[in-house]
Subunit: 325 residues, 2 copies
């Protein structure tokens, strides 16, 4: 069986989007349910998803395991896997790691742009690595099967997380820095550390992570994937589109500013371009996954490799990393 | 008017202790109301204090300003000033800075032993200084009159806080590292930076901060104060006893471990000596403040200087720093 799996989305969820997932043949999506939400607020997000699962039970189902993804595919639905872009849902409480896993969380970023209690974010001036609490929390995440995601973390923290973690770590959504020099993209050292850990990189289609931004071509994107396969091995790469469909610009402000400043912080954007940038025309929404598959094939990947990148690698990763060690 | 003011206590509060404050002639005490408490838990601590203010209105009164301390003294009571040993009460929300000030908080430590969202604690391996959020929060604390306290912070974070803050910063409870080489004690660089900012050091009587620990003599303690006056100037020093009277050992475990680890962390203690160490015999509780005054006089301080150190310096500091700039 071949899967199509997206390693990250944060859309303004609706029946339309769930139907587009079905049209695009998407079997599972890791969705962000918390950016800066604390524990109680995160529980409210889970409640909202429970309502969506109830209402659109013909289109989506909560995914807790790889087996859930297989069952979703068999029943013609998309499995929704929960993740956090920030450790804010566990607040300062290591005991919440097991609780959020029980509630369905399967990925947690150790930091989001800024310093967290656990690790440093990619926009801080300096990165002293994983904190005292961070070391304890990684151990606990390893124990319960909550995957360490370093997408928005800084370099040294990421390399240390790979060393400290006894299970694979991932970057669910980013691209190589060598292709597009954004602070959010990753050095070859980080890419190699992810692969060496047994982990994954999900390629982002978010324009700020793309060479030439919204004008990036499918050819350039797929060529970049081919180069990354040479660095990491074709078994350690997948998609992580970072699709933020139908979100108002107020949402990107929440992502960037949270509650940590009274100023405006433009993050990857700028005062001139403060909102969400337009997606490339070859990936506007979930219906366009086949475009990427076709692009990968054209770039020279074998059919097996295309399937691996489109979802089979994530499926294998889920089957090995979503439960107790 | 001369004041006796203690820059930090965290006792297991009771009528007995409030009566001992009166016996010792203590006009004001900065009390810790949060170690690792989040905002809601901190509000519960304020509620508990409100009950104590109601019940023991003949002995204590909530102190929000220097004027409240003066009124407390005139009415034969002790003013209780709220503070936090950790920024946990503001969680990740800069808007809570003004809220906690409105609720009465007047001191907030930017970190407690570990890395926080704002600054690094003294037990982390490395200290990258004040974070992005930390810079924003210091500005907001300056605006409303919430004093930056770096007692449990690491060296570089402390020096950077002194630079960034436009108002004086303090270390409410610690001693010079040169006298007793504990991680919690402060270098001469830090002492000078506190004084240069217009801030204060409160001398701690907590045995782990004392030369010879619980066996430290009053003479040694007062000699140390005399040496520190030479470094900082006699206007920038006061007391911050760190008295944790009548607390069970479970409380020191909460201070050290909070919710950040499933292990035991002994902090300043050790497996052999995990609990609260016994206080020196010349400072067992609030009745013993006159012992320190006598010791200072014997060391050669003038009467004016003794009064400055015993409380007049803190009173002046309160009058300048507890409100909007």
């Amino acid at each position: 069986m071949n899967y199509t799996i997206d390693g990250l989305q944060y859309a303004n969820w609706s029946q339309k989007i769930f139907q587009q997932m079905r049209t695009g043949g998407v079997d599972a999506v890791h969705v962000t349910i918390a950016y800066h939400e604390n524990f109680r607020e995160t529980v409210a997000r889970v409640e909202e998803w429970n309502r969506l699962f109830e209402r659109y039970s013909d289109l989506i189902v909560h995914g807790r395991t790889a087996e859930d993804v297989r069952l979703a595919k068999e029943s013609g639905r998309t499995a929704i896997i929960f993740g956090f872009q920030n450790p804010s849902p566990i607040e300062d409480d290591i005991g919440l790691v097991e609780i959020v896993h029980t509630l369905g969380a399967r990925f947690m970023q150790l930091s989001y742009n800024n310093q967290s209690l656990l690790a440093t974010g990619c926009y801080e001036a300096e990165d002293p690595g994983i904190t005292r609490m961070g070391k304890e929390v990684i151990r606990e995440m390893n124990r319960v099967g909550l995957v360490v995601d370093m997408s928005h973390s800084a370099e040294r923290s990421t390399l240390e997380a790979a060393e400290i973690s006894e299970r694979p770590i991932v970057v669910t959504h980013a691209n190589p820095f060598s292709w597009h020099a954004a602070l959010r993209n990753k050095s070859d050292d980080v890419l190699k550390a992810l692969a060496a850990s047994g982990g994954m990189l999900g390629f982002s289609v978010y324009p700020h992570h793309l060479h030439a931004g919204s004008a990036c071509t499918l050819e350039s994107f797929c060529e970049m994937i081919a180069r990354t396969a040479e660095v990491m091995g074709v078994d350690h790469i997948g998609l992580g589109s970072d699709l933020c469909q139908d979100q108002p610009d107020s949402v990107v402000e929440w992502m960037r500013v949270g509650r940590w400043t009274k100023q405006i912080d433009y993050g990857e954007g700028s005062a001139d371009s403060a909102g969400f940038p337009p997606m490339p025309d070859w990936f506007e929404d979930n219906r366009h996954f086949p475009n990427i598959a076709a692009g990968l094939q054209k770039t020279g990947f074998s059919e097996t490799e295309v399937h691996a990148i489109m979802g089979n690698n994530w499926f294998r990763f889920f089957s090995e990393n979503f439960g107790a060690a």
